[in-house]
């Protein structure tokens, strides 16, 4: 079993394909949608974790490419938080789209949830101390 994080971009009219349910039923993979967004030019973006056997994931991605107009990208990056240099100001939580960065309401320490992170990189720019970085 493994998990990959992908971003799917699709033109809105192709949403008629019940993409996610096909992936789950036909390819036996688990799809955990982390983030969904529709931009102004009517392109949908879906960020999801796909979990399953190596072979099933490969087949599922193969199926996705064959759909008209759908593009996918696998995130190979990960977010590195140099915790020892963090001052827990909270500025990064202002931009995190997925609530991967939150302030603990007791200790007021920053908390980072790797599972929720979309690797979008927004926090790397918002952090005034430069303690967030993306790493391949």
């Amino acid at each position: 079993m493994k998990t990959i994080k992908v971003s799917l971009k699709y033109p809105l009219n192709s949403i008629t394909t019940p993409l996610v349910s096909t992936l789950v039923k036909k390819y036996n993979v688990e799809v955990n949608i982390l983030h969904a967004n529709i931009s102004l030019n009517k392109i949908g973006t879906l960020i999801a974790d796909i979990t399953g056997e190596e072979k099933d994931i490969e087949d599922a991605l193969d199926f996705i490419v064959k759909q008209d107009g759908i593009r996918y990208k696998i995130f190979s990056n990960k977010l590195i938080w140099q915790e020892e240099d963090c001052v827990h100001c909270g500025a990064c939580t202002a931009v995190c789209p997925s609530n991967a960065l939150t302030m603990n309401k007791e200790t007021w320490c920053l908390e980072f949830s790797k599972e929720k992170c979309l690797v979008c990189g927004l926090c790397t720019k918002a952090c005034p101390l430069n303690v967030m970085s993306l790493q391949a």
């Binding site: 001052v87 827990h88 500025a91 939580t93 931009v95 007021w108 320490c109 720019k125 101390l129």
Partner: protein, 385 residues
């Protein structure tokens, strides 16, 4: 019954002073009542750790041989102000590197200096009869300069407006990254732990008050720039929005890089986190009562940083800290910009210094202004040639 600073200092020196932080004191007074708590408590400590742009450091480099009357100075490629005596300069926190721009600025020079690192000094001059030299390049550090003291024209804003963005474009500001269409709200100040919110009418904090600054002991030097005591206030004396400010001074050689940190706000520029803690001597019951102010009793305005909309929204710090506020029916996430964790650490550190007898309180030599002129606007007037 009243206490004096002298009496409190006697208790501090004998190691018997009773000290609480401005967060702890709330439940102490709640449990014991004001009268009983007043009899027992000597000092309440406050703290804040946020970006304070109006900060910088004076340095005297000492004279070289042959000597130079420096009229342009760079420290690690960041321009410093040299329009004072021959080898004096002021490095401002927000000044940017000539080559690296906002990737490295005055605040970074100050942080590196405090860490004890070598800093490249380059200076130019036109040469005079008594100071013939025209340039010099060398390195300096905190061990070989004569004086290095931080002098911050404006720290510790008493209260500060929260920020949001009504436009359809992302805004990069000194209040952090503001997402479009009221996508978020950011706020500063440490609320109920913040120095001037615990002494809202400046009854104990004044010129000459000894403070904890950047890990060292320093002083309130003057009212801060834009000090505006006539701001509208709630019944508890707490101003709604910016009001009092402090000019602070302290020995940078004794500071710690834990409490002074350079900051870069994307597409805005350089700033500096300054850690400040101020003790409040509990001289009477009213002073004690004022230190029990709670986040819900501290209100501030919400400002649209694009300047497009007058939101007319007031929020209290309990709402801001909850993580979500409402703007025109929409639920909007909030994010802090100043570190409450570090503010607590500073208030606690100051408390322990006082308990150990290592931090003695001072009587202000002069009170801060509590009324008088409001803020002037900069008018554009005709300039005669």
């Amino acid at each position: 019954m009243k206490k004096t600073i002298y009496e409190i200092n006697e208790r501090i020196k004998s190691g018997k002073a009773v000290v609480f932080t401005a967060e702890e004191i709330i439940s102490v007074v709640e449990e014991k009542g004001v009268k009983k708590a007043f009899e027992e408590v000597d000092v309440v400590t406050t703290g804040t750790f946020g970006p304070m742009c109006s900060s910088g450091m004076f340095i005297n480099f000492g004279h070289s041989s042959p000597p130079i009357r420096m009229n342009k100075v760079w420290l690690n490629d960041v321009p410093a102000f040299a329009g004072i005596a021959a080898v004096d300069a002021y490095i401002g926190a927000t000044e940017q590197s000539e080559r690296l721009g906002m990737q490295y600025g005055g605040a970074h020079v100050i942080e590196d200096f405090i860490k004890g690192k070598d800093i490249v000094l380059y200076a130019e001059s036109y040469g005079t009869d008594c100071y013939p030299r025209k340039d010099i390049k060398t390195t300096i550090n905190k061990y070989n300069v004569n004086q290095a003291y931080m002098f911050n024209p404006r720290n510790c804003y008493q209260n500060y407006a929260a920020a949001t963005n009504s436009t359809d474009k992302i805004m990069y500001t000194y209040m952090g990254t503001l997402l479009p269409e009221f996508g978020n709200v950011t706020y500063s100040t440490s609320g109920e732990l913040s120095p001037l919110l615990n002494d809202p009418e400046y009854r104990t904090i004044g010129i000459g008050t000894r403070v904890f600054i950047g890990g060292a002991q320093g002083y309130v030097a003057w009212e801060g720039t834009q000090h505006d005591p006539n701001q509208e206030r709630l019944e508890n004396g707490v101003p709604v929005g910016g009001a009092g400010t402090l000019a602070l001074i302290g020995d940078a050689k004794k500071m710690s890089s834990r409490y002074i940190k350079a900051a870069i706000y994307e597409k805005y520029g350089v700033s500096m986190f300054v850690g400040v803690g101020i003790p409040i001597p509990i001289l009477d019951e009213d002073i004690l009562l004022k230190t029990t102010v709670r986040n819900r009793d501290i209100h501030t305005l919400l400002v649209d940083k694009s300047g497009k909309e007058d939101l007319n929204i007031r929020l209290n710090y309990e709402q801001l800290r909850s993580g979500v506020v409402e703007i025109r029916g929409k639920k909007v996430p909030t994010a802090p910009l100043s570190s409450l964790k570090f503010a607590r650490e500073i208030a606690t550190e100051l408390k322990s210094l006082i308990q150990k007898g290592e931090f003695i309180l001072t009587e202000p030599v002069e009170k801060l202004r509590t009324n008088g002129q409001r803020l002037n606007k900069l008018e554009e007037r005709e300039v005669k040639p």
